[in-house]
Symmetry: C2
Subunit: 332 residues, 2 copies
Amino acid sequence: MKNVVSLKSLAKELNISVSTVSKSLNDSEEISEQTKERVKNLAKLRGYSPNPIAVRLQKQETMQIGVVLPNIENPFFASVLKGIDEFISASKYNIITFFSNESLEREKECLDYFSKGNVDGILICIAEETNKKKTFDHIIQIRQKGIPLVLFDRIPMQPLGFDTVHVNDYDSIISAYDYLEEKKCKNIAFVSSIPTLIVGRLREDGYLSKTTKPTVIAFEKLNELQLKVQEALAEGNIDGLIAADIEATLICSSAIQKRGLTFAKQISLIGYVNAAQNDLSYPKISYIDQHPKEIGKQTAKMLLLRLESKLENIAASDIILNTTITIGETSN
Amino acid sequence: MKNVVSLKSLAKELNISVSTVSKSLNDSEEISEQTKERVKNLAKLRGYSPNPIAVRLQKQETMQIGVVLPNIENPFFASVLKGIDEFISASKYNIITFFSNESLEREKECLDYFSKGNVDGILICIAEETNKKKTFDHIIQIRQKGIPLVLFDRIPMQPLGFDTVHVNDYDSIISAYDYLEEKKCKNIAFVSSIPTLIVGRLREDGYLSKTTKPTVIAFEKLNELQLKVQEALAEGNIDGLIAADIEATLICSSAIQKRGLTFAKQISLIGYVNAAQNDLSYPKISYIDQHPKEIGKQTAKMLLLRLESKLENIAASDIILNTTITIGETSN
DNA sequence: CTGAAAGCGCTTACAG
DNA sequence: CTGAAAGCGCTTACAG
């Protein structure tokens, strides 16, 4: 439609066969330099570009990689996607991104579409609902279809036999706890809006491993969480807070400010933030940096290795990336 | 590869022709109910699904829509993308998203790839660099190739003949100004980190239309902007701030807080924010809501209308959406 | 109602 | 070195 110039039209104009045109354009050894020149010149003149669909049909490759993200409005996933994109766009592949919107049903639809021959490989972070219901059949089916798949961030406890990429959530919180202890915090509470999410549980476990008198404030409903945090602060003995996710972090920070407490002096906070916005905000919150772009990059890299069959018979690998703590003004 | 079951394999197993199988599966009137039944049953049994690449080649449609976003880490674009996705994923099309990273060069690459027969239509918000250099040849070329394209958010001043979707930036700022005036602000300054961006200019023009003694603080470098805002506040006569973008807004809010000024009483602020995060933050900033998901939805809708040729000979249309002001704690 | 044939736009053994 | 043929997996006039 758009592209009226085809191998056939070039061949006709040059009075040679389609095969010769094709081979010339693909720089085949079989063709004389002279012919190649003629063909390439005309191709350029006519603005020829091969029909990608036809090439894919012939090569039996879609040249596309499917990505399933729980929610693009979460800045963490936006950054992961950027990391994926930077890596993939330098390859011959393209990304087709779907959003599960944290729904198991939608996630199934996405994988179903992908598995019907629409992509060569898949990158996925499972939805919250999938995580909760521990339903992984739809993911396992992907392997049975022979499509490489890499899981990232939210990794099911029971190994599914796929490559995985994630951070050391458990240890990250331990580091945060250690840091707050060094800063003389005696009463460190843990605040989370993701108590059932895998990463949330790991973070909570990390916290629990550090104290014998834990204070865990965990609610999925944000207004409820808000209330409980305020109540906890009102009791007056908490002098350190570790927040398990962006929402919990903002809630903690707001509650502290509303109560008129002085950061670092009276109470310290470490959490998870959107780095770009945090840098411009007041106060700058001390945070655990998961390096989301790096997560994306490593995830994409792992998949490309599989696709290029460089990992032919190698078992699934589990890449664990390190987080770092960036100190802001909510601790010191 | 993945899908070993094809029309051919079904045909062989049923001892009928490939055409009959194809027609049966497509519910053709030509085929007897009985045969359709047999074919469909076996197809289901074998888990047949048509090879999408082959279908596309035959139908001369890619079933894909290309989206070019300047930067996915900007929450505004993330939300626009969500709006696009919600609308498109309900259609037969899929989205393939590229990020220009605000680079003209990269944007050209994206459009070039799309125009080589990889998508049926394009949605694009031009890069900052494209905006600055006013280089639109690569976009105009798309029309010459007959590929429908819709521009959103950053719309070039000179009409390019494409459908466009954006908000009324000029009027939005006027509303914000009026609101602050009502709140008795006497000295309203305008702060921007996007002075050269189309939307930034429109917003600034809106501001300039309201006052004969304007105070415009506009710098692209954020640390420079930060400094200048602090200096302006130090002079002590500004009692109202309109910020033109997320970064400027956060910078204003921080500067005000650091200076120990009381929001609403001493100084009011209206800007642009990431709504989800703002809701949890302290203070909640009063902001101009652009309804980014709606922008995405309308953009996608416009393209689908074009693709379905329901707008065959209708000239390019310009959809202007309204913003609303959400009052937070930085004004009252 | 069913099937053979042509074609979508390519690539690639294979012959010459 | 060039080209005819087959094929990637479909669809759809056209014959029968």
